[in-house]
């Protein structure tokens, strides 16, 4: 994919506070990239610099090969959707959507035509004369989206645009936005702190922590192959078990746990034998059985608790030295507390992470 946006060693300081640190990121044309991270990790700041609301302390932002640091916001041609929508309260829905077209000196007839099409796209045609204050949160969200898309901007920036919606509506909008992205071939930079939202919508996810990108990759990569402990813990749920590398064989390593058990696991990054590491084992990849079985990695455990959660059964286990959580399919049998079970998983279902 051709590179379209590039953050080149971007840093941002507020006084002594470093909010974004020497960050590199490139985004392809037509790509949907999520900036995912906890609150305060600098995602919004990065987006605001891309939109031109903030200036980087150092580094360059390139759009289509040219530095845009000195280009003022109104000439950047980027559609921004804010978390609180930021609709113009004194204008009707139609006037809100017409605004960016009027700014571009487009003739009245064409403005009307395009506003109509944009409203149709977000299924709000009936509400063209309403004021934003007369709309529900979800409707306001759609107007904001239509307004940011109607002028066919080069990039669409969204800062937690779905944060204020309730769960059902949010999931619907996630699919709608993803659909628009595919249909219109938009380049979208999407900020969120909701990992499932990022996984659902994105081509690639950049995981932020304290102003840095810990890992960038497809949803599958950041989930299945977390590069750091932070990523493993932030995205989804995981079991983190300490151990020491005994041997490295290509993309796999043998790790000895404090209990003495040996685990063979895939490796993220590079590790050397003798190095203390973490093993990340996703709970849904753990199988339980009462016999040892054939699996490569087996831990002897005892059930301490099990909770039925509708779509899955959540079993808490205790090994000699560490706890372990397993999520089993809902067809699984019950495991009453005290049951001795073997927890098994393949080498590909866990990762060695350098601390």
């Amino acid at each position: 994919m051709a590179e379209f946006i590039r953050f080149d060693r971007i840093s941002k300081f507020y006084g002594p506070l470093c909010v974004v640190e020497n960050l590199d990121l490139s985004i392809g044309k037509g790509e949907f990239v999520s900036l995912l991270g906890p609150s305060g990790s600098g995602k919004t700041t990065l987006l605001m610099m891309l939109a031109g609301f903030e200036q980087p302390t150092s580094g360059n932002i390139l759009l289509d090969g040219t530095a845009i640091n000195a280009v003022p916001t109104h000439k950047r041609d980027m559609g921004v959707v804010f978390q609180n929508y930021a609709l113009f309260p004194h204008m009707s829905v139609g006037d809100n959507i017409a605004f960016p077209l009027q700014m571009r000196g487009i003739g009245k007839a064409e403005v009307g035509e395009r506003v109509k099409r944009a409203l149709g796209m977000v299924q709000l045609s009936a509400l063209v004369d309403r004021r934003p204050s007369q709309l529900s949160g979800g409707q306001q969200q759609r107007v904001a989206l239509a307004r940011a898309l109607v002028f066919e901007p080069r990039v669409v920036l969204m800062d937690e645009p779905l944060g204020a919606l309730d769960k059902n509506l949010r999931e619907q909008m996630q699919l709608d936005i993803r659909d628009l992205h595919r249909r219109l071939g938009l380049t979208i930079v999407f900020v969120t702190h909701d990992q499932s939202e990022a996984l659902t919508m994105s081509d690639r996810v950049a995981v932020f922590n304290k102003g840095k990108i810990e890992q960038i990759g497809t949803p599958r990569q950041v989930y299945d192959e977390p590069a750091t402990r932070f990523v493993a813990e932030f995205i989804g749920e995981t079991n983190l078990v300490e151990g020491v590398v005994e041997a490295v064989q290509g993309q796999e390593a043998t790790v000895r746990l404090p209990s003495g058990a040996q685990i063979v696991s895939a490796v993220s990054g590079t590790v050397a034998s003798g190095q203390p590491v973490f093993l990340s084992i996703r709970p849904e990849r753990v199988d339980l059985s009462e016999t040892r079985g054939e699996a490569r990695n087996v831990l002897e455990t005892e059930v301490t608790d099990s909770v039925y959660q509708g779509d899955h059964l959540r079993v808490q286990l205790q090994n000699a030295t560490h706890p372990l959580i397993a999520k089993l399919g809902r067809r699984s049998r019950e495991y009453p507390p005290g049951t001795k079970v073997f927890a098994a998983f393949s080498a590909g279902d866990c990762r060695v992470i350098a601390p």
Binding site: F53, K75, M78, G79, F82, A86, P89, F99
Partner: protein, 260 residues
């Protein structure tokens, strides 16, 4: 229950205390007698006639309108500009600056009056309409600043950022977004400025010449010279104007509230 009655009584008494002067003066506007006292022998509009046809009173009303309008325009422009400037986060000592703008509200009017007199004399502006308008503007600007600052504070900054990102240059953002959203505040500021000018006596005494006698000033001097009920009629006019002004302010506030 007794508590409730006590509260209601207290509230009534307080209101009475506040409006007693109005109750005392207003009926006298409609007296047919030539002196400003009770009892009222019969009802008449003769003092309103006096107000509008006697030269001194008519000129006072016209002066008040001229000076009030000038003050309103000048104070609204200056106060709005000041409020917009005070929004800028990069301004040093922003809090101090804001306080400076509000200073004329608390500085005793006599002090301002003396200062104004000296200053305007320096520019040869005493005894001129412009001089009075400038003096009134000084005391009216704080009202505009308070009112417009309030309205601006209610504007979500992201709305303006959104406009920028949609392609609006800063001047366009101001014209299409900021100003319309602040307009109720600007309007109520303007109305307050007009009311301030209408009401102002002390500064007027210091800087106005005989040709700039305002209605308030005319009432002040005529109550010492001849206590004619024309004063009561003028007072009635004032009250009506004030109530109208109050209505405009309230309406613009509710307009503002409805938009949010």
């Amino acid at each position: 229950m007794p508590m409730k009655i006590a509260k209601a009584t207290f509230a009534t008494l307080t209101v009475l205390f506040l409006v007693a002067p109005l109750i005392a003066i207003l009926p006298l506007a409609f007296t047919s007698s030539v002196i400003l006292t009770y009892p009222i022998p019969s009802w008449s509009l003769r003092w309103f006639e006096e107000l509008f046809f006697a030269d001194a009173w008519r000129r006072a009303i016209v002066n008040s309108l001229i000076i009030g309008t000038g003050t309103t325009l000048l104070a609204t422009v200056l106060g709005t500009a000041a409020s917009l400037g005070l929004r800028n986060r990069l301004i040093l000592f922003r809090g101090t600056m804001r306080t400076l703008f509000l200073l004329p509200m608390v500085v005793p009017a006599v002090v301002l009056g003396v200062g104004m007199q000296v200053l305007l004399a320096g520019f040869g502006l005493t005894n001129s309409y412009l001089g009075v308008i400038i003096a009134h503007t000084v005391v009216a600007v704080p009202f505009v600043v308070v009112s417009v600052t309030g309205a601006l504070a209610g504007i979500d900054e992201r709305v303006e950022l959104a406009a920028q990102s949609l392609g609006a240059a800063p001047a366009t953002v101001f014209r299409r977004i900021t100003l319309p959203l602040a307009m109720p505040g600007v309007l109520s500021g303007a109305v307050l400025a007009f009311a301030t000018s209408l009401d102002e006596v002390v500064l007027t005494l210091f800087v106005a010449g005989p040709n700039q006698r305002t209605l308030a000033r005319q009432m002040f001097s005529s109550i010492r010279e001849n206590i004619s009920p024309a004063i009561a009629a003028a007072a009635f006019l004032f009250i009506v104007a004030t109530v109208l002004i109050g209505l405009v302010v309230v309406l613009s506030r509710s307009m503002l509230a409805k938009r949010r």
